[in-house]
Each structure stands twice: as C-alpha cells, then as structure tokens.
C-alpha cells in the first residue's frame, strides 16, 4: 500500500517533510524513514505470521481435525520474541538519541558566524562570533521576526541566508503557537512565559555538502569546489519556503501561516539595508517637510499615494498599530511591521498570496486586490483577528468627531491599497 501511494503521489509539495532542505529536517526525515523500515519489517513478519495462522488454521467444512491441543503457552517463544522486540527498538533508539542531541543545540559552525559571511556594515565586536539570531514572536494570528543583531523587524515573511546556521528564539505574546517550517526544520512551540530556542539551516554548509559529494578530506578546498557549492545553494536552496503555525491557537489558527525566503549573502545584506532605511515620502520630500505640509495644508499633498499616506496617518488610524520604517510617526506595535510590505509575497500572515509560482515575482493586480480585500473585510479574511475593522464591523469601528459612524469609502480603501503597494 505504501509503495502504491509513494508511486502515485507527488511528495515534493510546499510543506513536505519528504524532500528536505537542510540538516535538521534531514536528520528528522532519516529517523522517520528508519522507523518506517523497522516497523515495516515487523509488520511484514508479524502480519505475515498472523495471516498465515488465520488461513492455515481456519475451520474447513466437515473438519476432521481433532480438538486443538489445549496448551497454555511457551516461555521460550515469549522470551525470544521479547528479546527480538527489544533489539529492534535499540536499532531505533540509538539514532534517536543522536538525533535529539544533534537537533537540540545550535552547533558551533565558524562558517556560520556572522563575522564570516555578513557583508553589511560593521557588526558589534561580540556578534561576529555568533550565528544570526532571529527572534520569533507569535501573536494571534501573525508572526513578528526580529533580528536583534541587525536592529530590524519584519513580519510574516522572514529572510535567512542560505547554508548558514540560524539560531531562533521563540516567544509568544498571548497563547501557545508553534513554529513549523517543514522543509527546513520540525516544529518548536512558542510558549508564553518562556523563551524556547531551536536552530535551523537552509541547505548544508560547505563541510557537510562536501561529505555528501564524496569529496575527500574535510580540508579539501578549492575555488572550483566553492563555486560548485555556491551553485548548489543557488539552485537547490535559494527559494521561498512555506511554514505554518502548528499549535491550535484560537479562531484563525488555520490562517496563521508564514514564509521564509532563503537568499545568498549578498542579497541578505541588501535586504537588511533596505529594511533599515525604510521608506521616504511619496513625492520625495523629507518627512519633516511632509508633516509640516500635512499640518498646515493637507490639501497641498496630492496624488493617490499622498492621499493614501494621509489616510494611513490620519483618519484610518493605521499608524497607531503599524510601523513603517522611515516614517517617524508610524510607530504602532500592535500589528505587523509594514516596512516593505509591498515587496512581500503574501499578506495577512500568508493567507492572501500574490506570488507567481513560476518565476517568484509579484502579481501586482492580485496584490492590489489582496490589500483591498484585507482592509475592506479583514474579518472575513481572518475571523476574529485583532486588526481595526476599518471597513466596518468587528471589534472596532471608525467614528468621526460627531460620534457618527464613518467607514472608509471604497475610494479611500483604493488609495490605501495603492499606498501599501508602494511600500517596497
């Protein structure tokens, strides 16, 4: 049956655990397959004996056999089988222990130290000998990813370098969540009141890769080898990975996805700089000028993007919950950080996607639709979510000075969506 399924089905899917991309998931998969083979073997032996017994000793019509002997058992057989079971369990147990130790502590891999590969601006001295650290914080129902060494924060789509150990710290803001990036590593829970940790690595490091290639000697080193290794990272690892919250966490648990983009060192450094600088104003003014104009004469700021930004900062109150790096007054932390939200492949914690799978680019139309939909009916997209219901309904509604209900108009939502799209 297993073979039938394996043959007939595609096991290389977005969140598969069969086709792994990294040593942690690979260890876990190898162990799994070991248990599969051992139990399959037992299944065939025991199941075979069972089937044989049923068929061989079935009662036939006009059975001539005498009454079966009323024997009560055979200690030797029992002891033998118990011994065999224990032996088979040892076969599983030893690699299991190795696996537990291997996957538990972040390895000391000099190639993965920040100092060895991070080409961005100067790092603090003490960080050079540490791997990249990402703090994952779970919220109902979205993720924040902080990079404490780099001073940046992003949401729902994390970016990590290929082939490097990344140390992950997991915390939760409210209830228990679980961080699961199946192709790269099994899950670890985010438990309030505690910091959990794990390590992940997308793709093998040079050493492990060489071993797998059968290249002699760990010292073996040559530019050609390095180039091959780089090609391996580029072709097999450099990619966009899907993850999801795996611990039930309330109404929209099913819609608490996240993504990981695995990039090379150079792209990573660029991305960091991009995140650091954030965004300017739509028409190139400095932020001080823009705010001055906004205070004195808002009508002088024209164009869809300016209109959108005005809404974002003002009437729609988006800035009370969202950070947009660069913008000195968009500092709210109740919602996901929206810096570069326009270059993310999905919004609403991975639920609304606008990635074109073939080439990994953004489908702009779809992106617009998604923003529009999200702002207009967050509650439909994600029941119970904690965002302001700017489009009406849900936990909070926009009220004007007179206490009247003043929902965002279609046009306003349109402008907000355009503005969000421009954040890239």
């Amino acid at each position: 049956m297993t073979v039938l399924f394996l043959g007939g089905c595609n096991l290389d899917t977005r969140m598969t655990t069969f086709v792994t991309k990294g040593p942690v998931a690979e260890t876990q998969y190898d162990l799994f397959m070991l248990t599969v083979w051992v139990t399959l073997g037992i299944f065939i032996a025991v199941g075979g004996a069972f089937a044989f017994a049923i068929i061989k000793f079935r009662e036939r019509p006009d059975d001539e056999r005498p009454m079966p002997s009323q024997g009560h058992g055979n200690p030797l057989v029992e002891i033998g089988l118990i011994g065999a079971s224990i032996l088979l369990l040892v076969i599983i147990a030893v690699p299991t222990l190795q696996g537990i130790w291997y996957t538990h502590d972040t390895p000391e891999d000099p190639e993965s130290f920040m100092g060895a590969w991070y080409s961005g601006e100067e790092l603090a001295e003490e960080e050079a000998d540490n791997p990249l650290i990402v703090k994952v914080i779970g919220y109902q129902w979205w993720w924040a990813f902080e990079y404490p060494q780099l001073g940046i924060t992003t949401a729902n789509e994390m970016v990590i370098p290929a082939g490097k150990v990344v140390h992950i710290e997991l915390r939760s803001f409210d209830v228990i969540h679980s961080f699961w990036l199946p192709r790269i590593a099994g899950k670890v829970d985010l438990i309030p009141g505690r910091t959990n940790s794990m390590w992940i690595q997308a793709g093998d490091n040079f050493l492990r890769w060489k071993e797998k290639q059968g290249v002699a000697g760990p010292e073996e080193e040559s530019p050609a080898l390095r180039a091959d290794y780089a090609a391996y990272l580029e072709e097999e690892i450099h990619n966009y990975y899907y993850g999801q919250c795996a611990e039930y966490c309330g109404d929209s648990h099913a819609r608490m996805h996240f993504r990981a983009t695995v990039v090379d060192n150079k792209e990573f450094a660029e991305w960091v700089i991009d995140e650091r600088t954030g965004h300017g104003t739509p028409d190139g003014k400095t932020w001080d000028d823009w705010y001055a104009a906004y205070a004195d004469n808002p009508d002088s700021l024209t164009g869809d993007l300016n209109e959108g930004l005005k809404l974002f900062m003002g009437r729609a109150k988006c800035a009370t919950c969202h950070v947009v790096k660069g913008n000195p007054r968009a500092l709210g932390v109740a919602g996901p950080n929206l810096t570069n939200v326009g270059s993310r492949m999905s919004i609403a914690a991975g639920w609304l996607n606008h990635r074109i799978e073939e080439d990994g680019s953004i489908d702009l139309e779809k992106q617009y639709d998604n923003f529009y939909k999200w702002i207009k009916e967050t509650d439909v997209v994600k029941p119970g979510n904690r965002m302001w219901k700017a489009g009406g309904g849900g936990i909070g509604e926009l009220i004007d000075e007179n206490g009247e209900l003043a929902l965002l108009t279609e046009d306003e939502i349109h402008k907000l969506s355009l503005y969000l799209q421009s954040l890239k």
Binding site: R171, F173, P192, G193, R194, T195
Partner: protein, 118 residues
C-alpha cells in the same frame, strides 16, 4: 435517643480485646514520639546547621511520622497486604510524578523577561 451508655454492645465471639489493649499502649507511645518529633522539627529550623542537613533531616522526620501513622494508627501493618498495595501504588505514582515534575520544571524553564516584556 436511647442511652446505651452502660450496656456494652454485643461483641463478636473472637473478641479483639487482648490485641486492642496491646495496641492501646503502642498508640500512646507513638503519640508521644510523634509529638516529640514535631518539637524537634520546630527547633531544628532555627539551628545554625547547614541548610541541606536541616532539610534532609526534616524530610526524614516527616517521612517517619508519615509512615508511623500509616502503619500503626491506620493498622496497615496489621492488615492485608492488598491494602498496602492499593495505597502504596498511589503513593509511589504520586511521589514519582512529583519528582519528575520537579526536574522538568526547573528554574531555567521560566523566562521572567519573557513574562514582563509585554
């Protein structure tokens, strides 16, 4: 209510009288011992001994009290083994679980920072 104070109620043929009288003395002696131990415990915590020593002595003493009450006051040593098993299993599982939990939830489980952060 009828007062039956002075009419002893009928007792089964194989009277427990003798054993009960013997037990009476055991009980009273044990009571004295228990009281004494409690006294010792009280003084002990104020003594300038090594905390670990005090701690383990306290543990041993209270364990002794526990076992003594169970064995004599509750007649467990006089009674059928199966009762000891019933109670003992509960005791063992409870103690084992407690010890295991103690190891599992050690101090480094908590992250005070993570609690106060938000």
């Amino acid at each position: 209510m009828t007062d039956t104070d002075y009419t002893p109620i009928p007792v089964a043929q194989d009277s427990h009288k003798d054993t009960e009288t013997k037990r009476y003395h055991t009980f009273v002696n044990l009571a004295l011992a228990l009281a004494a131990i409690t006294g010792i415990e009280l003084v002990l915590v104020y003594m300038p001994f090594h905390p670990i020593f005090i701690f383990s002595t306290l543990l041993a003493l209270s364990l002794f009290k526990f076992v003594a009450v169970v064995a004599w006051f509750m007649h467990l040593i006089y009674d059928k083994l199966i009762l000891t098993l019933a109670f003992g299993t509960g005791m063992v599982i409870a103690t084992g679980t407690f010890v295991a939990l103690g190891f599992l939830l050690s101090r480094n489980w908590v992250d005070v920072d993570a609690i106060t952060q938000f």
